[in-house]
Amino acid sequence: MSWRKAEEFLDKKTGEHCIRLHEPDTDAEHHVVIHVGHDACPHCGHVRPKNNLDELDPKALIADELDALEQSHAQAHSYAQKHSVPVLHSSGKIIPARR
């Protein structure tokens, strides 16, 4: 798996659990932000704590995101291997095809 979790923190000020996923081959990033702060009624503005935090499983959510990201990456990787196509790395180097 090439995609991996590069950074994770909970920002209590904003109520956001921030996760940065990174893929070094392409230097691509995908951010996941889980809202764990309060909710506000869009009509009256009444603020209340989130009542579904127990239902959230951040590990599973991150795993789902990584799976989705990896699918596309793995497909391209398999394609390159199958057809012996060199791969351009984010560093600018072209990595020769594996045989």
Binding site: H30, H31, V33, A40, C41, P42, E55, A68
Partner: protein, 364 residues
């Protein structure tokens, strides 16, 4: 040096006080003439041999300040001088006539023509002049009343180059349990997008914002200071320095979809307007509005443009008024309510998406 003067100097050096007096008197007279011509004055007695000569300030110059198209044009007319010398000017402006605060002072310069860009400003101008930058004449107001620069015409602004700001992100929402996920992506899901800022472009990450409550209207921004996405409830909150507005998304509140109710406003037998008495809920597209006059002769009326915001019908513009309508006229709305579950991204530059989830059928 003439031989007479040379002889006087040699005699004075030799101790002849009378010749020294004659020499100094001639020196004094020569300098008096020179000072009168140049406006200079004698050095004050001092032990500081670096002291600069005291210079009389120049006579008062003339000034003209006009404002237009967001800039001030300043023209100074130097006074006539017996001996040509460089005059330095110092111009300052303030919204306060006494210049008691908020004073902006332009760099000292011998130039007589200035352009000061300051769109929308209304200020007083003053200036003073000097030969040496040390001794100045008195401040003179350019005008006893304020001078306005006027607003800058859009025609004088370089078209779009430094101000251009857009991005190629799609922002949409999908249901997830009792909340929604807002997705930010480029050409397809999980693809990074390109943000254009002025003459530069940047690759920004894709993102998934999880557990966004249903019923919220949100604006997604990218905080370039901390390299993270932020979800805000209102557009102005996405404007701090270093934040890039990415797109808006509306997560329409759950609830049983309902059609709006509309009453016609009839005048002289024609329908001149529509009164939305119930805005309905969960409207996802244009409604079909039918006007009937049961048992009556009314005919020919059509409804105009509909305004739908956040799943609710806000207003219906009148179309053709028709004729012969009476108090029995009925306006019926149908269609326009779907059971969609996935928000759609807006077109480039108008990113927005929406999610409609009927109560009781939330995806899990």
């Amino acid at each position: 040096m003439s031989s007479d003067v040379q002889a006087l100097i040699e005699s004075a050096v030799g101790g002849n006080k009378e010749d020294l007096r004659t020499l100094l008197t001639q020196f004094y007279d020569q300098n008096q003439m020179l000072n009168a011509a140049t406006g200079n004055s004698w050095l004050q007695p001092t032990n500081n041999n670096k002291q600069k000569a005291q210079t009389k300030p120049p006579a008062q110059a003339g000034i003209s300040v006009t404002g237009s198209n967001g800039s001030y044009q300043i023209q100074i007319t130097n006074p006539a001088q017996a001996v040509s010398a460089t005059i330095i000017h110092e111009i300052s402006y303030s919204p306060i006539k006494s210049f008691g605060g908020n004073v902006t002072t332009l760099p000292q310069s011998s130039s007589t023509s200035y352009t000061v860009p300051s769109p929308g400003a209304t200020v007083y101008f003053r200036f003073r002049s000097s030969f040496d930058g040390v001794t100045w004449n008195n401040y003179t107001l350019a005008s006893t009343s304020t001078i306005s620069s006027g607003l800058q015409s859009s025609a004088s602004v370089e078209p779009n180059v430094p101000l251009n700001q857009t991005n190629y992100a799609t922002v949409d929402s999908v249901a997830s349990g009792s909340a929604a996920n807002v997705r930010v992506y480029g050409s397809s899901l999980y693809k990074q997008y390109n943000a254009v800022r002025g003459q530069n472009s940047y690759i920004r990450p894709s993102a998934t914002l999880i557990n966004v409550p249903l019923g919220s209207n949100g604006y997604v921004a990218y905080d370039t200071n901390k390299n993270r996405f932020r979800f805000q409830q209102d557009l102005p909150s996405t404007f701090p320095d270093g934040w890039e507005p990415v797109g808006s998304v509306s997560v329409v509140e759950g609830g049983i979809p309902s059609l709006p109710t509309i009453d016609p406003i009839i005048s002289g037998g024609g329908i001149v307007g529509y009164n939305v008495t119930n805005q309905g809920n969960g409207i996802t597209g244009p409604l079909t509005i039918i006007i009937t006059d049961p048992g009556g002769p009314g005919t020919g009326a059509t409804a105009g443009q509909q305004t739908i915001v956040n799943g609710k019908l806000i207003s219906v513009a009148p179309g053709n008024a028709g004729s012969l309508y009476d108090s029995h006229t009925v306006v019926t709305a149908s269609g326009g309510v779907g059971t969609g579950s996935t928000g759609g991204g807006g077109s480039i530059g108008q990113n927005s998406g929406r999610l409609y989830v009927p109560r009781g059928v939330l995806p899990t």
